[in-house]
């Protein structure tokens, strides 16, 4: 069997330069090395550079200042059809912190200005007047993995008809409800910093394994769909059942 090679695109590293999240790219490199998987990491630096969606497995988008989101959206919009195919192929597109706005429908800035997003998530965002910095602990709904880190919240995220990424155990999450992040197929948004994949290498490992197994055509990601639904419904049943006296 051919050796698996994973291709990761690190999107706009100089422009999306906040909160040390370049460390997460290093974490993917380390996890792949530990698993004996070859990883090619490619920086896409300029807005004018085309993203090679066809030959990419993971796109990593670190957090950046909100003012750059419009330019990024404009750049990626030029390859919208390729992005849709990429998403339908269940490849990974990961956004951290403020960059979640890129995938939302729109963001309302503090001065009332509206920034349109790519509309991948049914989510609206509102820039906060004050910053919230706190720890963040949540569980990813799909895999039941616990993730820990911190968050610097400058934007509140309102999920409309949108699946969250996870459920909060401690922290503010999207908007101080129990919801953290968002997910459509393998397009993922989380508020969690750390760098998130440095502090939670098991999450990076899970993503890398999914990519590797999919490439080898030996794993169906939806294999545990019924078990997942069972887990959620049983959890709900336990939570809602009358207490024993």
């Amino acid at each position: 069997m051919d050796k698996v090679v994973i291709n990761l695109v690190w999107l706009y590293p100089d422009i999306l330069n906040l909160h040390g999240e370049r460390g997460s790219v290093q974490a993917f490199q380390r996890v792949c090395e530990n698993l004996g998987i070859t990883i090619n990491i490619k920086r896409v630096n300029e807005y004018s550079e085309k993203i090679d969606f066809k030959n990419t497995d993971i796109i990593f988008c670190p957090p950046g200042e909100l003012k750059v989101i419009y330019d990024i959206k404009e750049a990626i919009s030029k390859q919208m059809d390729e992005l849709k195919e990429y998403i339908d192929a269940r490849k990974y597109f990961i956004t951290i912190g403020t960059t979640g706005c890129l995938l939302a429908k729109e963001t309302i800035r503090e001065n009332g200005e509206k920034i349109e997003g790519l509309g991948i998530f049914d989510m609206t965002c509102k820039e906060r007047k004050t910053v919230i910095g706190d720890d963040l602990h949540f569980v990813i709904e799909k895999t039941k993995q616990e993730i820990i880190g911190s968050q610097i919240q400058m934007i509140d995220y309102e999920l409309n008809n949108q699946e969250p990424l996870g459920t909060i155990i401690y922290g503010y999450g999207n908007n101080n409800t129990s919801k953290e992040g968002a997910r459509v197929k393998n397009v993922i948004f989380t508020n969690c910093l750390g760098p998130v994949f440095v502090k939670n290498p098991w999450w990076a490992e899970n993503i890398v394994m999914n990519v590797a197994l999919n490439k080898m055509n030996i794993y169906n990601e939806n294999e545990y769909e019924l078990e997942n639904k069972s887990f959620t419904s049983t959890k709900k049943f336990i939570k809602e059942k009358p207490k024993q006296i």
């Binding site: 330069n17 906040l18 460390g23 910053v131 910095g133 750390g194």
Partner: protein
Amino acid sequence: MKFIMKIPFHITLLVGKAVANIAKLVDKKRGTNISGKIATALCNDFVKHFKNIDFSKVIMVTGTNGKSTTTNLIAHTIKQSNRKTATNGEGANMMGGVATTLIKNSTLTGKFNKEFLVLEIDERSLPSIYKVLPAKNLVITNLQKDQVQRNGDPDFIYRKFAEVINKDIVLFLNNEEPRSKGLEDKAGQVIYFSVNKNDESFNKSNFYDITMPCPKCNHIIKYEYFNLESIGKFYCTNCNYSSEEKPDIYVSNIDSEGNKIICNNETYSITYNTPFYIYNYAATVSVSKKIGLTEEEINQGFKTFVNPGERREILKYKDKVIHYLRMKQENPETLQSALDTVAKDKTEKAIFIGLYEVKDFLPYYSNTFYFYDCNFKDIANTPVEKYIVFSKTVCYDTANRIIYDGADPSKIEIYDYEEDISVILKKMDDIKTKNIYILTGMKPYSNIKNFLAEEEKANG
């Protein structure tokens, strides 16, 4: 109505003066801004009511790093030229601190009794302070990542500055710091201070090195070279934004051994010769020239300046020499500056690193991500006998960060302690090298210093 407003101000001023005097009697070291805090709580726009302030002689100094040192240096230099000067050099840089400075430097009727007023201003407080004290001179040392729990990202502070700057202001800007220089279009006059490429300058070309977005067009900023972390001769890859080719104040040469700089063809004697200080000296020359000080007067100030907030200290403990490098939490530049200092030492060493959880205000939290805005690689490439990593909670993250940049895990010892410094420092006796570095904040360092002093005392 005006008359009514004056009564509360004058009463408040008397209360403030009384509190300031009592605070001074109780404890000379404490009570820095207590009188101002009370006064601003009692009287709306308290600072606005002081008279006899010539706003063209008010100099505000703000920015992420170096504002305390630059404020102290400017104030000291003006004072040395025999011009009466008031300053909040003790670091009380919010509204209460400014009010305290005015209380201490005014008559009983609220007339400011000095010629110059030099103020360090907290970045977030600048809009509210400028509203009541419209200084005509504003120095911005730099605008970098810092205290994200309060400031979010640098653009959050950029927008605070942009609210204030107008055509009535003379802006003193760092020619090699892209973000703050981006504010240039908003001021009436801009004076750029600059430092030439020198022996300490460096380049970055590693795969994981990153820069920043252009403050004007959001494309990429690139550097021809760096004089400090994220400070160096720069240009935008898209628009024509760049460092000025002919800055107003230009340190062309640094003689580190002779402790001299050549700035605009004039030679100045300096006490501190690290790259960071050179920018502080350049900023001070720019302000001093603007207000009319002569080269001799500036030189006199520089020669006699001693920084009360020096971030480096050397201690001796038994046969060990301990280099203490203070860093500010959540401030990658000060951590990087400390790391660079250690990396320059190519001899065998032991490094004690205490990066802590953030406990400035509630909620406390465990920020570990700013470690990854810094590079530890250069340290890992020097001979290190041991890394002693200490602090509660985030010590494991610290160790992991060092390993990520190539340190040998077998050389790292982790101590999950907060208060029991003795356990950590007993390690010092086991270490063979006499060359010790401690990188941590002020509070843990004070604990270490006290412990070592007691040990020395006990051992005679």
